[in-house]
């Protein structure tokens, strides 16, 4: 029987050069299409189950019809409260991933909304207790349930089983790709509060002094590193130097410029934007990706997330910032490719979507606009929760939900549907 209590995560230790780095094994990948659908909800942190509106009960496992009244089922968000009614401790397993992580606690939770569901167990929960259930992605980016006492509790992330499901910056070394961007500076400030062990702040063109560079230099927990996303040799050199100790990469580069194809267009600006945003993403992924992929199971500070801050208009073009939207759409597409290439490494490809930020290049855009500090706070929270798609702010959430509801309708609205 495993000990249940308040054991904290071990502090990361310096690497023993005589020991082989653990291979990034992952839990089983195979799922039914319904199981994959669950991963979509887990990616966004939504607790969704098939629901019978006639019986007003959730159903598990997923079925074609309600087992009680045969009515149609619809996936919807349901309450995540329940009671832990049984537990088991796995002491052995034929699955290679679990063999290296024994003992492993699992249990059955009876949800107030109806069904009983198997879940991973947080060290704090005991049989008979009221618990909260969460739907998470595991290291294979497949959906699993986990039960804990209180998800918002202070020390909830101090759990080795939960850490497998999240990308918590605590103890980890983080690279910010463009620390001069509004999000970059805010993140450089906020990551220390999340107990990141080391923060590398990428800075291009150190010969160009400005107030942001002065502010970055004044942060004593931040190490400035030369990184120019438009210069392949710069990305390659930094990856050679620190690629093996970047546990979380947060790609913050952006270059919002108003204009489309006919109005306010400038090809040189669009080319510059494309090089920085699209090719820059490819440079980062190709030089930092391989080292991160090899370190997906490298102890308590394993490589865990390749994060990109994206405009939510990557989903559907916002013509006022038309070429900018197109660049973000390209990066969004590339991130899907990277997800496939990273699958099986345990490293999550996370996208954080935002609307316009409170910054100079959106000065003519009406509010609501996202404060960079809020962006940094919610992005870090999303990593702590283990999300894959983080929607930050009202605009991002609104556009994303309209996109999911009807992509064509959103396109019509954005391209002038409301015009007189």
């Amino acid at each position: 029987m495993a000990e249940i209590g308040e054991s904290r995560l071990p502090q990361p230790v310096k690497k023993n050069p005589q020991l082989k780095t653990a291979a990034p094994l992952v839990p089983p990948l195979r799922r039914s299409r319904l199981g994959l659908r669950l991963a979509g909800f887990a990616a966004r942190g939504e607790f969704c189950l098939p629901f019978c509106s006639a019986c007003e009960k959730a159903v598990w496992p997923p079925r074609d019809a309600c087992p009680t009244c045969l009515a149609e089922l619809a996936w919807q968000e349901v309450g995540n409260q329940g009671q832990l009614i049984a537990e088991s401790v796995l002491e052995t397993s034929p699955e290679l991933y679990f063999r290296g992580r024994m003992p492993w606690r699992i249990g059955t939770v009876r949800l107030a909304c109806g069904p009983s569901i198997m879940a991973h167990l947080h060290q704090q929960v005991q049989v008979g207790e009221q618990v909260e259930m969460g739907l998470h992605l595991d290291k294979a980016q497949r959906a699993v349930f986990m039960a804990y006492k209180n998800r918002e509790g202070g020390s909830v992330n101090e759990d080795s089983q939960l850490r497998e499901l999240t990308s918590d910056p605590k103890y980890r070394r983080v690279l910010i790709s463009d620390a001069r961007s509004p999000a970059g500076l805010a993140l450089a400030k906020a990551l220390a509060g999340a107990e990141a062990r080391e923060i590398f702040a990428g800075v291009a063109e150190s010969w160009r002094r400005d107030a942001v560079l002065d502010a970055l230099e004044a942060l004593d927990h931040v190490t400035l590193v030369p990184l120019d996303l438009t210069d392949s040799s710069s990305v390659k050199e930094l990856a050679a130097e620190i690629g093996g100790k970047v546990d979380i990469l947060i790609h913050t580069a952006d270059q919002p410029r108003p204009g489309g194809l006919l109005d306010g267009s400038s090809l040189t600006i669009a080319q510059e934007m494309q090089d920085r945003l699209v090719t820059g993403y490819m440079r980062l992924a190709s030089h930092f990706g391989p080292a991160m992929r090899g370190r997906g199971a490298d102890g308590v500070n394993s490589a865990t997330a390749f994060v990109t801050i994206l405009s939510v208009y990557a989903h559907a073009n916002w013509p006022s910032y038309g070429t900018h939207s197109a660049c973000h759409a390209a990066v969004y597409s590339l991130s899907q490719c990277l997800r496939s290439e990273m699958l099986g490494s345990g490293v999550r490809v996370v996208n954080a979507y935002t609307g316009p930020l409170e910054q100079d290049w959106y000065e003519s855009v009406l509010p609501p606009k996202l404060d960079p500090q809020r962006l940094a706070r919610d992005l870090i929270k999303g990593l702590q929760q283990g999300l894959e798609d983080i929607y930050i702010g009202d605009v991002a959430r609104d556009v994303a939900s309209r996109f999911r509801e009807d992509a064509k309708l959103l396109e019509i609205e954005l391209t002038g549907g409301a015009r007189e």
Binding site: S206, W207, R208, R209, P226, D231, S232, T268, I269, E272
Partner: protein, 266 residues
């Protein structure tokens, strides 16, 4: 002896002097480096592209026996040449682009005016007419169809010190308006060159006319050389400058290798 024989003899002597070291070839060019500063304009304007290089192959699957790169940059990146069409004042002149300008002017005598002491004392130093006249009093009148280079020691600066940007703009030396007029109108120079990012001083946007070196030089069909390196290796007079820009169709300028032929000291 025929005229042709005399010409051959002249160049033979030059070849012998080059081989013996009696004439040295001095490189006045900065290396094209991705991190070399370029001029900074307000962000809403189009910007000068930095120098960039991508590997095409390196004796590998992309090209088994050869190594080569694609590079990209602006016409005004690194050590570079300004043609008259670069500025609005020279837009309608004949032969104002790098592909059409007369190549005879790309090789010529060069006078180097030493302003290092003045620049050390004042980074916004403006070389005036009196400074040029003092140079002529010591070294003789600037011959017509010469290059004139302003030596400031600025090329020894690196990074942020080289751009020397502050909230009120760049601070770097350059020629005064009257000095440029004097060089063009009364000395008939081929062109004017500096060790700074532009032929104009850092604060020249506030001059009358704004950017007087660009405006007056190019308006009169003269050329500019910028980001020159190590002008302290040239004598005040007696050297020959070779400054041939790339032959870019309708080009307004180009990065180039600037060389000087200098009689060896002693």
């Amino acid at each position: 002896m025929s005229t042709q024989d005399q010409t051959v003899g002249l160049l033979d002597n030059l070849a012998l002097d080059l081989a013996s070291g009696a004439v040295e070839v001095v490189d006045l060019t900065h290396t094209l480096d991705p991190d070399f500063p370029v001029i900074i304009l307000p962000p809403e304007f189009g910007q000068c592209a930095r120098f960039r290089m991508e590997e095409v192959s390196r004796y590998d699957a992309r090209g088994p026996a050869w190594h080569w790169h694609n590079f990209s940059c602006g016409e005004h990146t690194g050590t570079h040449f300004d043609a008259p069409i670069h500025w609005v004042s020279g837009r309608d002149l004949p032969h104002n682009t790098v592909d059409s300008l007369p190549v005879q002017k790309l090789v010529g005598r060069v006078c180097v005016i030493d302003c290092e002491a003045e620049t050390a004392a004042d980074e916004d130093y403006e070389m005036d007419r009196a400074k040029i006249e003092a140079f002529e009093a010591e070294h003789g009148k600037i011959p017509p169809q010469s290059w004139v280079l302003m030596r400031t020691g600025w090329s020894k600066r690196r990074g942020a010190d080289y751009v020397n940007l502050r909230e009120d703009g760049a601070h770097s030396p350059g020629p005064a308006t009257e000095a440029v007029r004097f060089l063009v109108d009364e000395r008939d120079i081929i062109g004017f060159g500096t060790e700074c990012i532009g032929t104009d001083s850092g604060q020249a946007a506030h001059a009358d006319p704004p950017y007087p070196a660009h405006y007056i030089l190019h308006g009169a069909g003269r050329y500019g050389l910028q980001c020159l390196n190590g002008l302290d290796r040239l004598p005040p007079t007696g050297a020959i400058l070779l400054a041939a820009p790339l032959k870019i169709k309708h080009g307004t300028g180009s990065p180039l290798r600037v060389l000087a032929l200098v009689p060896a000291a002693g």
